[in-house]
Symmetry: C2
Subunit: 204 residues, 2 copies
């Protein structure tokens, strides 16, 4: 069994959403699994001092257009949400709460949360909306709420974000294949080629 | 005849270099020509307040790796230059000097300059090296030097950069197809598809 692919995402990142729709299939085509990592890009940015491109006013119009276009090219449904971006720590804590019992349930939650925010404008930052989404996703909603208020899962998310920063993650999605880092939804072609054939010829 | 594609580049931009190697062929496959625009990304950044991603220390290691990898995937030879970035106004003024007599000669100069900097580390910011490159490219080197010192071509480059900013260019390469803007070397696939089929289905 070849080692898993690491997929770092933030629930409020549109390019994370688009790539979340293909990363599993791409990995499976090459006999790989995916280790998903919910992180807080905002917390990472506080450490790194970076601002996500889509939050730079001058780039925003272009990038919203690029998000819509990239989703359409990928065949992924999307409606650019408002408000955007949103605080995603509660959704991410639920991810880690599920993850440490069963990573597959965490992945299902991640996909449900990303789809809800980016296709139906479910505001994951709103506790009432998030509880309703948890129930819809088959979770026990009160237990989910208890988890996102629990210092254990707060610490777990912080540790996951710190670990991501430590391995060089500075944006989302960030995908690592056998130690090779790929930033962005737009590296799908390179990732596919790398999985199939390894590094391109002439890469030093 | 369908309208030309606009290709905005800076002589010091590695992703501009990579895309400069495919833009002509992509356009030709779809019955298009390319209008090349040498701009000063640094001057644009002074207006916009943006910093190119590759000049952000935390991203630099990743982006240099991505440049090398993207060039290898595209089959484009590259050696990451040092010093990097460099001042490119003289090379760009020569571009406009040639352009206003014969755009094809300007394109040939652009390709020669990008290749020289990114494969042989010819420092385009050094007047002696630039004159030698001009001679190598079949230009009259003294006339090229006179052009880059001429207020006429200084103003021409400034006007070209201002015009680029006015249409929303904030990075390089920046490629506009029938009014649709594409930023970055990594939009080749979308550009090809757009040229062949127009907008993707479901793009609103």
């Amino acid at each position: 069994m070849r080692p898993p692919i690491d997929f770092y995402f933030d629930f409020s990142s549109p390019y994370s959403y688009i790539s979340s729709e293909w990363i599993g299939a791409v990995a499976a085509r090459h006999g790989r699994t995916v280790r998903w990592h919910a992180i807080l890009l905002g917390a990472a940015n506080q450490v790194t001092g970076l601002v996500p491109p889509i939050q730079v006013p001058l780039k925003r119009d272009y990038l919203v257009r690029d998000v819509m276009r990239s989703a359409a090219f990928a065949g992924v449904p999307i409606r650019m949400p408002d408000p955007f971006p949103i605080a995603t720590q509660n959704a991410a804590r639920v991810f880690w709460w599920l993850h440490d019992a069963d990573p597959q349930r965490a992945i299902a939650w991640a996909r449900a949360g990303l789809r809800a925010y980016f296709t139906r404008h479910v505001n994951l930052a709103d506790p009432t909306a998030l509880k309703a989404l948890a129930a819809e996703a088959g979770l026990e909603a009160d237990a989910a709420e208890a988890a996102w208020n629990d210092p254990v899962w707060k610490a777990r998310l912080k540790a996951a974000t710190d670990a991501a920063i430590a391995v060089g993650v500075f944006g989302a999605p960030f995908i690592v294949v056998d130690g090779e880092p790929f930033w962005g939804n737009d590296r799908q072609g390179q990732i596919e080629s790398w999985l199939a054939n390894g590094p391109p010829r002439d890469l030093v």
